[in-house]
């Protein structure tokens, strides 16, 4: 048996195959707008001669990969797709290159970026990530079922109205649930929804000296409202429902209302996938008369890690992907309804866009109604609407999310879930040094 030549062959094959030309490596998430950008990026290469190497990953895998790379100064990526949660934390750590070139470029028009989104991506007045698409959350509802229930959805409903409508629209015999909400545990799953909802009840994660607030009446009111609403009008097995599960239920006509990301509007109104495409209405996320609505704010944005060797080329790419011309290019090739939403004021002033996207105004109003620096009624020491922009939050909120999901599944009472959430959060915040 001649093993040696085979081995030498296999290893040299590996060596030869790994040698290739230098390119800009871009890490991004697998969603429609990003995939479209990948498809259109040949124009960028043709224009600048800069080749692009795409790494498309599922959101959680992407987060793990880019966090490992940036924290170790690995240098695998030149452009990273990050969310509004990471941007302020990473900027503070000094891991990101400030996008001064974009701010200085008159054609890029940085002042055109929506103020709420821009604010979430800046630190000390400097932009650290350029928004590619932005989203908030809102109520999507079935106009026909609402009419059948003898109700009219206001543009800006209250939680009281949502509760009343959800119960009136529920028709268990015909498998229609009055409301579908997230129940799956995770900081970006049920806790995104519940944290945003809690803001409208005046609840907050921490007081000004970082003490957990789950023992306060506002959180109890939030959780009680959520649990009773889901018990009376929610789908079976809701504790494992996330965005995709609720999307499917809504598209198949099994939800009267659904409160979730504004990006879902284009999915539920698409007649190819949705059986209720022509029956969907939109409204702002509910409030409780306290001056804050239960909607969140998120933007997938492009940023340059400090470890890159190609910062200049990376900024050129970010400029190309997030400027006004890119929106026009997408509109010309794929229609205005497919333009990445939620980043620029000028898009919402565009009559063609308004005509193609019936949900445009509601999306803009929802984004404008969210204030990451002042998310709830009482003062807080953190920024972020549906999250708290500290590195410890993802772990803490996933833990709390599991407790609330268990309460939804009937495995524990609301009071037990809140008490355990209070203890666990206080312990973690003390260990992390926030509570002296």
């Amino acid at each position: 048996m001649k093993l040696t030549p085979i081995l030498v062959g296999a290893f040299s094959l590996a060596l030869a195959a790994s040698a290739s030309a230098q390119t800009l490596t871009i890490a991004t998430v697998n969603n429609g707008d990003m995939i479209r950008m990948q498809g259109l990026s040949e124009a960028f290469t043709a224009e600048t001669g800069i080749a692009l190497n795409w790494v498309v990953l599922e959101e959680n895998t992407l987060r793990q990969n880019v966090t490992t790379d940036i924290a170790t100064n690995g240098g695998q990526y030149d452009v990273m797709t990050i969310g509004t949660y990471e941007a302020p934390i990473w900027a503070k750590q000094g891991w990101l290159v400030p996008l001064d070139g974009l701010s200085a470029d008159a054609a890029y028009d940085v002042d055109d970026l929506l103020p709420a989104i821009r604010g979430g991506l800046s630190m000390d007045g400097k932009l650290y990530a350029a928004p590619f698409y932005g989203e908030s959350s809102m109520v999507m509802y079935r106009k026909d079922l609402m009419e059948k229930a003898g109700l009219t959805m206001p543009d800006a409903p209250t939680w009281e109205f949502i509760g009343q409508a959800a119960r009136a629209m529920t028709d268990r015999a015909n498998d229609i649930n009055g409301i579908c909400l997230r129940g799956k545990a995770g900081w970006g799953e049920n806790m995104a929804f519940l944290t945003a909802m809690s803001n409208s009840f005046g609840a907050r994660w921490f007081d000004e000296s970082w003490h957990a607030q789950f023992d306060q009446p506002e959180w109890k009111q939030t959780l009680d409202t959520y649990l009773s609403l889901m018990a009376d009008a929610g789908p079976a097995g809701a504790s494992s429902n996330g965005f995709n599960e609720n999307l499917t239920l809504f598209q198949q006509g099994k939800c009267g209302m659904w409160i979730d990301a504004t990006v879902a509007a284009s999915f539920v109104t698409n007649p190819n996938d949705s059986t209720v495409a022509d029956k969907v209405g939109f409204a702002l996320a509910p409030d409780n008369g306290l001056g804050k609505r239960g909607n969140w704010l998120w933007a997938w944005s492009l940023a340059i890690p400090k470890s890159t060797q190609n910062a200049e080329a990376a900024e050129k790419f970010i400029n190309w992907a997030t400027n006004k011309d890119y929106l026009a290019t997408v509109a010309a090739k794929e229609g205005w309804a497919n333009v990445p939403p939620g980043t620029r004021t000028s898009l919402y002033e565009n009559a063609e866009y308004q005509a193609a996207a019936p949900f445009a105004k509601m999306t803009l109003d929802s984004i404008n109604a969210a204030d990451p620096t002042n998310p709830t009624v009482k003062p807080v020491p953190y920024t972020g609407v549906q999250f708290v922009a500290i590195p410890e939050f993802a772990g803490i909120a996933t833990n709390v999310g599991q407790l609330f999901s268990a309460a939804l599944a009937g495995q524990m009472s609301a009071d037990d879930a809140l008490a355990q959430a209070q203890d666990a959060t206080t312990r973690d915040m003390t260990r992390a040094g926030y509570i002296k």
Binding site: A14, S18, S20, N30, E58, T61, T68, G75
Partner: protein
């Protein structure tokens, strides 16, 4: 009566075996069927078994967005390369432990196995830093190296078990005939242990082919294998199940075929020495 009972038992066991086999195969079958459905049908809350609208468009969409052949090539290089390299180290190591054991051999074997007990993420940061400093990130030789290292304990353990079954007298006879160590291993030991070596090779190719943690973490596009390819089709928002299934089917097809054709060898190797 005894005969009837035996037939009943045989039927019972056959049915049980088929039942377990079908249960294990069900997720793969579901993936295969989903790959030929439309996205809307794939996610329907009252699922259909057979595709109502048979379509191949998912495969087209997958190839449009990503380069299947590049990822498949990387998978072949990494899984074969790491297994062959592992065998080159594992065969002499297993020989030493099987035929020239010392007081500490058992401890060494246990120590090697213990490295498999730690979750991979526990050593992520040190490995990442080493790879960064040695410029091995996103390279095929880096990936081949790490895959060799993580599978080496299994290779050595499997080979050690097979070698123990070979009578030491035969090797001694070869030595008395004047065979040197190299000839003893390559021309006497290896041919006798071919079934064991073959099943070790097959199993490790499969393990390296399916490894997802390191291949996704240590690559960023150039050296990505088929596991990274599959991972790019999963999404928390939007419709992706049919495309994900198509990508998975494309990724597992080569290894599934290899397993199918070599199942006799695999079973023979895995049960080698099981019956005395």
């Amino acid at each position: 009566m005894a005969r009837a009972a035996s037939i009943q038992t045989r039927i019972g066991f056959t049915a049980l075996a088929w039942g377990i086999a079908l249960l294990l195969f069900a997720p793969i079958l579901w993936t295969i069927l989903t790959a030929f459905k439309t996205e809307a049908e794939a996610i329907a809350s009252s699922p259909t078994f057979l595709p109502q609208q048979f379509t191949l468009e998912n495969f087209g969409a997958v190839q449009d967005r990503s380069d299947y052949f590049k990822h498949a090539f990387n998978s072949i290089v990494v899984s074969l390369g790491s297994t062959l390299l592992g065998l080159a180290i594992g065969i002499p190591a297993a020989w030493a432990m099987a035929f020239a054991p010392t007081k500490r051999t058992k401890d060494v074997l246990m120590w090697m196995l213990s490295t498999k007990m730690m979750p991979a993420v526990g050593v992520l940061i040190p490995i990442y830093l080493i790879f960064r400093d040695l410029r091995l990130l996103d390279t095929l030789h880096g990936l081949t190296l790490i895959m060799t290292l993580i599978n080496l304990p299994i290779i050595i353990w499997m080979l050690y078990t097979y070698f123990k079954e070979i009578p030491v007298d035969i090797l001694e006879a070869a030595r008395m005939d004047g065979a040197e160590l190299y000839n003893e291993i390559v021309h006497v030991l290896v041919p006798m242990a071919v079934p064991g070596i073959a099943s070790t090779l097959l199993l490790n190719v499969i393990l390296a082919w399916n490894e997802a943690f390191w291949t996704i973490t240590l690559t960023s596009g150039k050296a990505g294998t088929l596991t990274a390819f599959i991972s790019s089709f999963s999404s928390p928002q939007g419709l992706f199940l049919a495309k994900l299934s198509a990508a998975s089917l494309l990724a597992i097809a080569p290894i599934l075929l290899m397993g199918w054709f070599s199942q006799k060898q695999l079973v023979r190797g895995l049960t080698f020495g099981a019956v005395k």
